[in-house]
Symmetry: C2
Subunit: 204 residues, 2 copies
């Protein structure tokens, strides 16, 4: 009972290092698994079905929504993005924590459906640092950089609704923070209802 996996959501504005942190996080833990999202957008070069996304046709995606197989989804630039119930259930049934990497609106939908889910938001040290990081990549136009910084500012307003806030100033520290959150969250009293009974119960 105490070993049942939990549902964790990790969100962050673009440029906050979410993918790098999660990549490192999964190297250092064997109690959590990544619940791969589904999308109807076209597969890009270097992407693998079932690893980066579950790539579905619009028809299939809609069918899964109708069948209640999609936990949450959003439409963005004409494509669907969502979380398949099966991706999460498979992990939880293995006793693993399921990690969803989704944006703020999806996270709020998960919160509504699963009051029990634990929401983690990764923050940049400052909006200025974020802007400089995006600029430093050298892959985006100035317009895109300003657009992304503005979007980050909007997304930050949702951080209020998360359970944990981690600042990605130093990668290793941020990964250690995330590991600690996963470990400690499972020790919190509301998650341990069964343990006191089991301790007393084992007395014969």
């Amino acid at each position: 009972m105490e070993n049942k996996g939990l549902l964790f959501v990790v969100s962050a504005p673009a440029g906050c290092g979410k993918d790098t942190i999660l990549g490192e996080f999964f190297k250092r833990t064997d109690t959590a698994g990544y619940a791969v999202s589904a999308t109807t957008r076209a597969m890009r070069e270097g992407e693998t079905d079932g690893v980066h996304y579950h790539f579905l046709s619009v028809d299939d995606f809609k069918k899964k929504i109708a069948n209640g197989e999609v936990l949450e989804y959003t439409e963005y630039c004409g494509n669907f993005y969502g979380t398949l119930k099966k991706s999460v259930d498979d992990l939880l049934e293995q006793g693993k924590d399921a990690v969803l990497k989704i944006e703020v609106e999806g996270a709020m939908n998960i919160r509504k459906k699963f009051a029990d889910a634990c929401l983690v938001f990764i923050l940049p040290p400052s909006l200025e640092v974020l802007e400089n990081r995006l600029r430093g990549r050298g892959t985006e136009t100035e317009e895109k950089i300003l657009e992304r910084t503005a979007q980050a500012k909007t997304e930050l307003k949702f951080a209020e609704n998360y359970d944990y806030l981690i600042v990605n100033d130093d990668l290793n520290e941020a990964v250690e923070d995330l590991l600690a959150v996963f470990r400690a969250e499972k020790l919190r009293k509301p998650r341990r209802e069964g343990i006191l009974k089991s301790i007393e119960g084992e007395e014969s």
Copy 2:
């Protein structure tokens, strides 16, 4: 602001390995300090004033209570045991977390005074294991062992009021649990009110 230390309380029934866990914990962290308790009981062989306890006369202890210098205290077997405000304040002012090792009633008193304090309870894997551990020490009479097990059972009822429950089944795991709790607790949203403002504020 985010670096301000927190007040942590660690409680456990006798025989749960609280001292061993805390000893190991302090070896592995430099962000927390032990807030030494005060007592009016006589110093025992091997004890050092200011390390194991602050040893005070009854008059001094009562004076400190009257002056509001004692955060919480209890009387046990004719002696006073309590927490000096200064012990805690000194640590918090250094930006360290202050760790109080106190029994359940003292912990509930701390909770009443400091809603913000974080309470950690260390549990035995089962009452049976606890009883066997106490017996294994070979230092206590059978009567004392049964008395202690009964007391543990009473103390376990207070675990309900703690924030985190850690089971000491494996020493290293229990220490890692405690380290994770200290780390994660500071990342929890209610403790991070200032951070969102500072992130936006740094934008110029």
